[in-house]
């Protein structure tokens, strides 16, 4: 018991603050060119590198903007100019075996590179584009949705 408490203390002592700041974030903006916006509820947040991304966020790039998102399972979504994606649902919880990744791509160009969810639970991944649904088996996809 003593050992356990000691171990726990050491573990706590060893965990740094880096991710404790945004415990619920599902990922972050890793790369950014030009301007882009995250729509969260009724807020509109200018995108900057390292900005955390949350479940439910809509990410929209400007006509000259592009960005890359890395999710906590190492999945990446990149958006070209004039693109919009909704991170509708996301759950990455290997401890309980709970996974979900549902995105809706509204317009623009995208690159998707699968991460751990793609390996551990590919059936939990669903990508919607306006007229189709895409399911994947651990892969990389490029998607283009012509805008008006």
């Amino acid at each position: 018991m003593k050992t356990m408490i000691f171990s726990l203390l050491i573990l706590l002592f060893c965990i740094s603050q880096a991710e404790a700041v945004h415990p619920d974030s599902i990922g972050h903006i890793q790369t950014l060119n030009g301007t882009a916006t995250i729509l969260r509820g009724d807020k509109s947040i200018p995108a900057v590198r390292a900005l955390p991304v949350f479940r439910g966020d809509t990410i929209r790039t400007s006509k000259t903007g592009s960005l890359g998102i890395v999710l906590t399972d190492d999945t990446t979504f990149s958006l070209g100019p004039n693109s919009e994606i909704v991170m509708a649902d996301y759950q990455f919880n290997p401890r309980d075996g709970k996974y979900s990744m549902i995105t809706k791509m509204v317009k623009g160009t995208f690159s998707y590179i699968s991460g751990l969810i793609g390996k551990l639970s590919p059936n939990s991944i669903k990508m919607d584009i306006p007229n189709a649904t895409i399911s994947v088996r651990g892969t990389k996809l490029l998607i283009n949705i012509e805008a008006d």
Partner: protein, 203 residues
């Protein structure tokens, strides 16, 4: 009969609504090899049908709502570069993992690890990394208490070293595993140099 007419009218109305509101914009789904060269699979499903993509640069197009996805074609590199140049240019570089080894029962790096340490800094700078995960490990000799402390000291040692080289402390997440998560699985009380390590994942 009345009912049939009602149903038919309903369907016509629905179809009319759908073609009126749903976007008619062409949508393209293209399967490319993973960063490691492996080619996976994707299934594209519309109201009109299903298409499987399972070869490098296989592509299908949906031009009408409710239409079947087009037969699979192979995308040319010209098409790829024309349509996707900007999105490909912004793709995050895949994460990279490094392992630093330590001398027995110390947080002193082996001389090999010392001389390869600069590669970690290079990987961080190349990506302008903002997520760096450091996990400390010990081999299975000695008590659990000792190993937990040792693995933690090792991980913090590497963290401090990175910070001294100018890496932002807030970007680094440290964890320690004692003798857990062995690289080379061993029984208890086995001195295994490859388990005396710190793993660093740069994202």
């Amino acid at each position: 009969m009345k009912r049939l007419i009602a149903i038919l009218t309903g369907i016509t109305l629905l179809l009319g609504l759908c073609s009126g509101c749903a976007p008619k914009h062409t949508q393209t789904v293209l399967l490319t090899p993973d960063p490691d060269g492996h080619v996976g699979k994707a299934v594209v499903t519309t109201a009109g049908g299903i298409q499987l993509l399972d070869t490098a640069n296989a592509m299908t197009t949906i031009s009408e709502p409710n239409a079947e996805p087009s037969t699979v074609t192979t995308a040319s590199s010209e098409y790829l570069n024309k349509k996707f140049a900007q999105v490909l240019a912004v793709e995050p570089i895949p994460s990279e993992k490094f392992i630093i080894y330590f001398n027995n029962n110390t947080s002193e790096m082996t001389s090999e690890s010392q001389s390869s340490f600069h590669k970690i800094i290079e990987a961080i700078n190349k990506r302008k990394a903002i997520r760096i995960k450091i996990s400390g490990h010990a081999d299975s000799t000695g008590s659990d208490k000792l190993n937990i402390k040792l693995s933690c000291t090792r991980a913090r040692f590497i963290r401090d070293l990175l910070v001294r080289q100018g890496i932002t402390a807030e970007d680094i997440k440290v964890s320690s595993h004692g003798k857990g998560n062995q690289l080379i699985p061993t029984a208890d009380n086995v001195s295994e140099p490859r388990n005396r390590r710190v793993e660093i994942i740069v994202r």
